[in-house]
Symmetry: C2
Subunit: 346 residues, 2 copies
């Protein structure tokens, strides 16, 4: 184990000089800096983060808690956050709550004792538990991502979920659909509730009735969406199109349709929120509402580092990013309905 003392001894200077050459090289004369650098090189010295952060009262770590790392949305978020945090000189401590509020709370405890400099949190939404530990825990800056909640004055970066859901629903309406199903997320989390709202607003805007029977809560999960799709399609009057509120549910739905012997988009059209790299390897290629995932990660990191540096303070605000419609092949006109010309070449 090579410490700063060893370097100092070899270079024939004090430890303070070594520390200075590492942290603020211009404070030390050319000659000594030269000697110190050489000593560091030959000893292959690296300062010990634990000692440094003890003294500096900051760890150089940020915590990232995601709800489900196997969800491509979060995977891409993790990728972006890790890359951008790295550019800012931070390493990231990754936590995966697996949609479990208890695990989320535990992770928060760990992050607290690690004294991370900040936390980016995609909460499970069951905030009762985590909220308290969040609050009680010292002044660690927290930025929410994907899923917001009010009342704590935290910064948040989220999709404009209402508009996104409107976009999706309107796309189906423009294609001529009148009975549009919804695979909804849990309304206890903002992403679930807002997307439901957007769906209703779109219907309303086109003077279409809202039929509760066509809406199924499937918890953002694939298997639940599979089951819900089966139910929907067995209605006496099944929907001619379905809007899935996230990627996992879209996949569950596709699987169900295929097992039911229904063809997409011939028998039923599908659109969903969340684009992902392989959406166009599916058959049919999925029409989706894309989220600017990378920008979300980027913004979250920037908000967080600004909080950490103190250049940002006061109560936080919610930052909304806009979605983008990606038209592929999974939406067609319902059987027997002529498609308006304007839509045939999107």
């Amino acid at each position: 184990m090579v410490t700063i003392r060893d370097v100092a001894k070899l270079a024939g200077v004090s430890v303070a000089t070594v520390s200075n050459t590492v942290n603020d090289p211009k404070r030390v004369s050319d000659e000594l800096r030269e000697r110190v650098l050489k000593a560091i090189e030959t000893l292959n010295y690296a300062p010990r983060a634990a000692a440094r952060s003890l003294r500096k009262q900051s760890s150089g770590l940020i915590g990232l808690i995601v709800a489900d790392i196997t969800n491509p949305f979060f995977t891409e978020l993790v990728q972006a956050v890790e890359a951008i945090a790295g550019q800012h000189g931070y390493s990231v401590l990754l936590c995966n709550s697996d949609e479990d509020p208890v695990r989320e709370a535990k992770h928060l405890q760990v992050l607290r004792s690690q004294w991370v400099d900040g936390i980016i949190l995609a909460t499970t939404g069951e905030v009762s538990l985590s909220r308290t530990s969040l609050l009680s825990q010292s002044r660690v800056p927290v930025v929410l991502v994907d899923r917001a909640f009010d009342g704590l004055g935290l910064d948040a970066v989220v999709l404009n979920n209402r508009l996104a859901a409107q976009q999706a629903t309107q796309h189906l309406i423009r294609r001529g659909h009148r009975r549009i199903g919804l695979l909804s997320g849990p309304t206890s989390v903002t992403t679930g509730a807002d997307r439901l709202t957007g769906y209703r607003e779109a219907l309303l805007g086109s003077q279409l009735p809202f039929e509760p029977d066509l809406v199924r809560e499937a918890g953002f999960r694939e298997q639940q969406a599979y089951d819900a799709t089966v139910e929907l399609m067995r209605l006496s009057q099944p929907p001619t199109a379905v809007f899935a509120a996230n990627n996992l549910m879209a996949i569950g739905m596709m699987r169900a349709l295929s097992d039911l012997g229904l063809r997409c988009p011939d028998d039923v059209s599908v659109i969903s929120i969340d684009d992902f790299a392989w959406a166009n390897v599916f058959r049919p290629r999925l029409t989706t509402i894309a989220q600017p995932v990378r920008e979300m990660g980027e913004m979250a990191v920037r908000l967080l580092t600004d909080r950490i540096s103190g250049s940002r303070s006061g109560t936080g605000s919610t930052h909304m990013l806009e979605s983008r419609l990606v038209v592929r092949e999974s939406c067609a006109a319902p059987m027997g309905v002529a498609v308006p010309l304007s839509v045939t070449t999107p």
Copy 2:
């Protein structure tokens, strides 16, 4: 900021007693322990990891470096490692090298200065650079995963890649194929080289000729596989089946086939290494060779914690896990060839 001193003061004991009740409760009398615990509770005290690890010479952190986190194989590996490391009381510092040896080396530097207790490394294979920094860096235990390399005596947990490639190739052969293409990974990494070897062995075992023209190096990347597929299919005698050496290349291939107007499995059969959650949402559902990803993560963590605790020592060894054939729909008999009965109902 509440420190151990504050707790000690409130409980009316020395700091040593507080430390003992936290770390080794049975060393302190019931009465004092009671008082201390209460004080900790009311102050909501959490020991500071930096101070603790400075003194204990261990950080409770393990570093995990993956080559490409958006690759579902690595995503699942990350999930497994994070979960299991958590059970062992470790948090994981996630690093994504993006198949870039330079980034990998940088990450290793960071992990070194963070003094992680151990590292799980899926190396990019370009070891020249990372190898040196690995060697020079102190005695941090390292476990390689997915991709091994010899000469450093490190523990490694990998797939039995030769056998896996044999399985894949033989499956195609049994279906009646005689001209089988290979989308290969770079032979500079073990996974690439071994899977190529397995492919050749399978051909040899069935007295089929090895035709270099049917083998394309596509760097484990989707786009390169796309291009390679186009080339393959434009040969005067194109293959009737192709074995893609990983998931990403299988996807690139499917995309290319579709763009070429070729149907799978009617015109060309496809099999690949790496199963993933959505392989059966693709059309056709992909026949794959599944890796026991979760077990690999589990074993890697166990090897690492054993090294850390010192219960394992000496030069490391390579642990091979076996693959499993998952038959779905992407492999059929070549046109005009009768399929042996034994394979029609796999």
